[in-house]
Amino acid sequence: MIRADVLAAIIAMAVATYACRAGGYVILRAVRVPPFVERMLANLPGPLFCAYAVPALAQWGWTGWVAGAAVMAIQATTRNMAISILSGVGAMVALQALG
């Protein structure tokens, strides 16, 4: 069962989200962007995921920082995301048990 008002809200969300996904690319194609903006886009990934990870860890308090550091160390040595992520969850279980 799909109600008309719910359908309208879902379509509105989908359109808004697609505009976000495509918008940056469309603008980049339509206007000549300065070289500085191109260099910013090339330098985006690291700072972007830093800005993602830091508040996400802070939400957990000190256990977040310790478990996050463990994930990064394990990812740097094993290069295996599944192992790193599961180790992070395991570290959080252990840290919460410690209090």
């Binding site: 799909i2 700072p47 990870a53 802070a58 599944a82």
Partner: protein, 240 residues
């Protein structure tokens, strides 16, 4: 990677790249799955039908904006508020699409616009890392996106069905998988102390400060990411 021996659009999107992307998306599912279950549980709590829940997941496919919209859900459905919530949370995807231009430019017609429809943080992350290694196959981007989409649908359906039975309380270590995913992703972008340390510290510091001041998502993320990227750009421009 067979570079230089293909015409301009040759290898723009290959099945091999798609399969590689879908395979490499699997570990990330550990991080997205608990989140999808939460979205399913809340959709059920907000009296959405299973069909409505799955439709939203299929066409919006952006977890944090779905959660925010569900927070302010009412009867009748808040059309304008839901759209604004989706836009505000997902505007972070705009610079990612722009940064993927070297791959998207080589695609034609519907392939380009359909690939963009699957763009999420994780598929951007893996693709940007692949791009840094010299990859240029947009099939990889699509493969990661579709792989995550399939498991996102499964997780939300599971949460919707089992939500009232299996309760995972807030603060459960399982939810740490999402933050852990971003920590693991981060390591793919480390190019050395001289280039990355200062932009990363600036970005993380600003994001933390704004988050601590109580700014809602996605502003700490966007302000941190753009200032870090600007510092990186200024430094790479200054270098001979």
């Amino acid at each position: 990677m067979k570079r230089g021996q293909t015409p301009v659009t040759g290898g723009a999107m290959t099945m091999a790249g798609f399969k590689r992307g879908a395979r490499e998306a699997l570990p990330l599912v550990i991080g997205t799955f608990p989140f999808g279950i939460v979205v399913g549980v809340i959709s059920d709590a907000k009296d959405l039908s299973l069909a409505e829940t799955m439709l939203m997941c299929a066409v919006v496919f952006a977890g944090s904006s779905q959660l925010l919209a569900l927070e302010l859900w009412a009867d009748p459905a808040p059309i304008m508020a839901a759209a604004i919530a989706a836009f505000a949370v997902n505007i972070r995807l705009a610079p990612m699409g722009a940064a993927l231009a070297p791959w998207l430019d080589r695609l034609r017609g519907w392939k380009r616009w359909a690939t963009i429809a699957t763009l999420v943080d994780h598929s951007y992350a893996l693709s940007a890392a692949d791009m840094q290694r010299g990859g240029r196959d947009a099939g990889y981007l699509l493969g990661v996106g579709v792989g995550l989409w399939v498991f996102w649908m499964v997780a939300v359906a599971l949460g919707y069905g089992l939500g009232s039975v299996v309760r995972v309380p807030p603060g459960h270590p399982l939810y740490f998988a999402a933050a852990a995913t971003f920590c693991a992703i981060l390591m793919a972008f480390w190019r050395g102390f001289a280039r990355d340390f200062a932009p990363w510290v600036l970005s993380g510091g600003i994001a933390l400060l704004l988050w601590w001041l109580g700014l809602p998502a996605p502003w700490p993320l966007i302000a941190g990411a753009l200032s870090g990227a600007a510092l990186g750009a200024a430094r790479s421009g200054a270098r001979p």
